[in-house]
Amino acid sequence: METVKIVLRNQEYEVKAGTTLRDALARLGINRESVLATREGELITDDEILRPGETIRLVAVISGG
């Protein structure tokens, strides 16, 4: 499996494995300043290379009314 699943709230995206998280977010139009990324519950930085078949969960950080 050469793709990676990226999950943000109820939205799921598929991107190609082998690219950095930073590039994947840019391709999806997600501002990296507005999210944190976790792999198996651990925070990762956006220079991480995405691995085939894995799921990256994004945590939205903006709040406030």
Binding site: L36, I62, G65
Partner: protein
């Protein structure tokens, strides 16, 4: 990416500081920096009794956790607002605050606003028609009133809130767009008590990005309410934060320098003190005389009942 301090794997890269840290050094750094800001802005001392306003969100619970680690005498206060949103928003938030306090043996004061007022916040907003079909204005007024009241009655020295840099930058952005000079003059990490019915208000997280506070909560294993308040969707604050993050993505440090340069400009006297405001007790930030509300003992800019007591009186 490796941690600057130990070369282990970094969990966060703070581009505005050119600093990446691991899951051990990042929370330590946050705690140390918070203490630095408390001292720098002369927020409070170890002898002061603090009241922390907690909502169940990442910022306020993280603030309480940091103050607890630093050894301050900090109680928490949670205001139940009766907001459901189809998923029990207020109920869930309260449970998370209670769990947090129990795990650390901390004192949490829970105030049930609907029980006090007789209506939930959305019901109160609908009845008073205050705030253009959104309960946020009524909610803000109610929370400010109850927090002041609890701080006053409990004889706390300081009321601490979890406002982060993104909150402060968004407010600053809005006030700059509209040149609300009075509000700009008033915005500060510390708001002095201007009336016997008020306590000093402080924002110890005002120099941390919202992203850092979310990371702190995750690394520390703090369970917080991830869902947004159902009434916050489409808010101006979120819109301004989104715009500022677009700027930050292209120019790391833009949000921080926007806020810090503002504080420096204020110190240098860029914003004139409103006429009549000598900063003394009994005078509001707009220079107006402050009276004491006969209903609650809190401050009011007009003689008679304060805005909150007038609102509650109307719906009785």
């Amino acid at each position: 990416m490796k941690c600057r301090k130990c070369s282990q794997k970094a969990v966060i890269n703070m581009r505005q500081h050119k600093l990446a840290l691991c899951n051990i050094h990042f929370p330590q750094w946050i705690v140390e920096q918070t203490q630095r800001f408390i001292a720098k802005y002369r927020m409070f001392s170890p002898d002061d009794r603090l009241l922390v306003a907690v909502s169940g969100g990442k910022d306020s619970l993280s603030l309480w956790d940091i103050l607890w680690q630093l050894g301050y005498q900090a109680d928490g206060v949670y205001i139940a607002l009766g907001i459901d949103g189809g998923f029990g928003y207020s109920q869930k938030s309260q449970e998370l605050c209670e769990k947090f306090a129990n795990q650390r043996g901390l004192k949490l004061i829970v105030v049930d606003a609907p029980q006090q007022i007789g209506l939930t916040i959305p019901e109160l907003a609908a009845v008073t028609q205050r705030g253009k079909n959104k309960p946020c204005s009524v909610c803000g007024l109610t929370k400010r009133h109850i927090l002041d009241q609890i701080a006053r009655e409990g004889q706390y020295d300081v009321l601490a809130t979890g406002h982060n840099l993104d909150d402060e930058a968004a407010v600053l952005f809005g006030n700059t767009l509209n040149w609300n000079v009075g509000y700009l003059y008033r915005q500060s990490p510390v708001l002095p008590a201007r009336h016997a019915g008020l306590v000093r208000k402080v924002k110890p997280l005002c120099r941390f990005y919202e992203r850092e506070m979310a990371a702190y909560a995750l690394v520390r294993g703090i369970e917080y309410i991830y869902e947004e308040c159902p009434h916050a969707a489409g808010s101006t604050t979120i819109y301004y934060k989104t715009l500022l993050n677009q700027l930050e993505a292209d120019r790391p440090g833009a949000k921080l320098s926007f806020y810090l340069a503002f504080l420096q400009a204020k110190e240098k006297g860029l914003f004139a003190q409103p006429l009549g405001d000598g900063g003394e007790e009994g005078i509001g930030a707009g220079g107006e005389e402050l009276h004491t509300c006969p209903g609650c003992g809190g401050p009011t800019t007009v003689e008679g009942l304060c805005a909150f007591c007038r609102m509650v009186e109307k719906v009785k």
